[in-house]
Symmetry: C2
Subunit: 346 residues, 2 copies
């Protein structure tokens, strides 16, 4: 499938121009904090404002990577015509700042590294860097969408007519496309979406996206999945993954693990979508879990949930071990979590 065809199968929030786009040096990022109540965008004129937007969760999932790449192009625009060494140094600084925004999901770091190669090639050849980067980003983005479609096809093959499906947080394009493909092939599904506190990505992003596709969806709170399993309402559990280690540990939004433990208890398979593998992440010891500010736990849509003087704790991600994972969904198929290192070496 072509990138623009895939785009048309997606709900508003996942259409590429609504994730992040580039307008003459300004990075325009879809504001997922306000969605679905508002369809707003944040305009970032430089790398610092993009980095800040990523840190304060204006975007998430695949969004930070794309926004960060455009921030690199914006940086190149600002130093266009300067000596090569200065361009290179400025871009390297920008890259380092952007990488620091997301310690857990290394997709962003890997894509920035690849983009830097394209920038360096342009610098060496004396070509203007901004258009070279934008060209690389567009090709890379098209490739990403084609990969989403391949991955989604495999995910969709795991969904059976009549399935109740549990997810967590916002599993983004590959998962949503899988649902869309399953629907197109006549499968009737019922999706259950935990709201995903504290930022409510499930209630705000996932549920409206699935509803927009015309697929039945129900929002639940994060304490309800076991009740649904116990009632026999769930046949499959799917999530995205911020990172999957080469030995099959799935790192994803906190809550993924307890649903995986519960799924295993009830004999329901858990599948994780994989955006790719990072050779520098062989095992759980190599994972950095981002701990966010406790204050974020103590509000919901701006309103306090407890007293100010009460402490809180916010581990943003958890780690699901491979024995709880039925399969890793990739562009090349659904793999055992125990064979991933073959994929990267093969």
């Amino acid at each position: 499938m072509l990138s623009h065809e895939i785009n048309q199968m997606l709900p508003f929030i996942l259409q590429r121009e609504n994730v992040a786009r580039y307008e003459a040096g300004v990075v325009v990022i879809g504001d997922r904090r306000k969605y679905p109540f508002e369809r707003a965008f944040v305009r970032c004129p430089d790398v610092e404002s993009v980095a800040h937007a990523i840190e304060i969760m204006v975007t998430q999932g695949g969004g930070p990577s794309l926004a960060a790449l455009y921030a690199l192009a914006s940086t190149a625009r600002q130093v266009e015509g300067k000596p090569p060494a200065q361009i290179n140094e400025t871009l390297e600084k920008a890259r380092a700042r952007l990488v620091r925004t997301r310690p857990t999901n290394t997709a962003l770091a890997l894509r920035l590294e690849a983009a830097m190669q394209a920038a360096k090639a342009a610098i060496q050849q004396g070509d203007p860097v901004e258009p070279a980067l934008l060209d690389w980003i567009e090709k890379s983005r098209d490739q990403a969408y084609e990969n989403y479609a391949k991955t989604a096809r495999h995910g969709s093959s795991l969904m059976s007519d009549g399935d109740g499906i549990l997810t967590m947080c916002f599993a983004e394009t590959a998962f949503i496309l899988s649902l869309s493909m399953a629907k197109e092939s006549g499968k009737e599904l019922q999706v259950y979406v935990p709201e995903t506190r504290p930022y409510l990505q499930g209630a705000r992003l996932t549920a409206p996206s699935i509803h927009e596709l015309g697929i039945p969806v129900k929002v639940i709170t994060d304490n309800m999945p076991a009740s649904l399993f116990d009632q026999g309402k769930i046949q499959k559990y799917f999530t995205a993954a911020d990172l999957i280690t080469l030995d099959g540990h799935v790192v994803n939004k906190v809550g993924t693990l307890q649903n995986a433990i519960t799924a295993s208890y009830y004999g329901v398979p858990y599948f994780a979508y994989c955006w790719g593998l990072d050779p520098s992440k062989p095992d759980r010891a190599s994972i950095v879990i981002e701990e966010r500010s406790p204050s974020e736990v103590k509000t919901c849509r701006g309103a306090p949930t407890t007293l100010d003087e009460i402490d809180a704790y916010y581990p943003a991600f958890d780690i699901t071990p491979p024995h709880l994972v039925a399969g890793i969904i990739t562009t090349s198929g659904v793999h055992s979590p125990y064979t991933l290192s073959n994929l990267i070496n093969g």
Copy 2:
């Protein structure tokens, strides 16, 4: 321990006069929806307003029982001096209305039935019914607090110095007293409290209560317990129970089950506090799970969490099977969930 001594060991919200009190026919109920942001009370002049207050969650836990008993006294006051048959009929109607407010937790039904015996004895002897009921309620309440203290002593014995303790929802007097006793005996504890969506009883009631006792407490969201278990932060898991069947199934606020499954996966024991046993609830087939309006899932402190047109699902309770329960804490000790029918027959 005497009832008033126990009262002094409790945080504001659990002090008996703040749960519910009786003022010349008016039932004054502590408004747990507004706590801890406001210390407000709802004044209910008749049985219908009390029933409505229970249904809209003005109070919960042990609160509905006490408020319902006072509603019976208030009803008696309104028909004082009428013919015995009319008094009896009016009280029976009031009782039926109050029982309907809580299909899952049958403590309320059982206590109303016992109170009706006291009312009927007064009617038969031609005594005024309101004071007879108030006298019965006071004795019954004192007995309840003494039972809390006995139960709490057993709960406290399960808490070890240095323990990380997980709870769920608001486990009320017996649990909070256990913590208080553990602290008095010099044990250092760290309590983790899931916020308990959608009504946030954990964040609003449990965490402030524990904080008021000077015990370290951290609020987490409902998707975080597994992350804490995985990090080795939890050594014991305690909850209250709305109902425990004679064959050891624990019915409690939704979310209790998935924490129990996760606790079992990590080898951490789960203990449930028991208010008593109901001979009419032998097994899980006898349990009625209250399903509340889906709309309640879609707001948090009044703010919408998703779009209005999106569906939701709200099972208010879940059922934890006995093989996931390490012990049932009662006035007489910590019992195996498999031996409860002996307690009621013995």
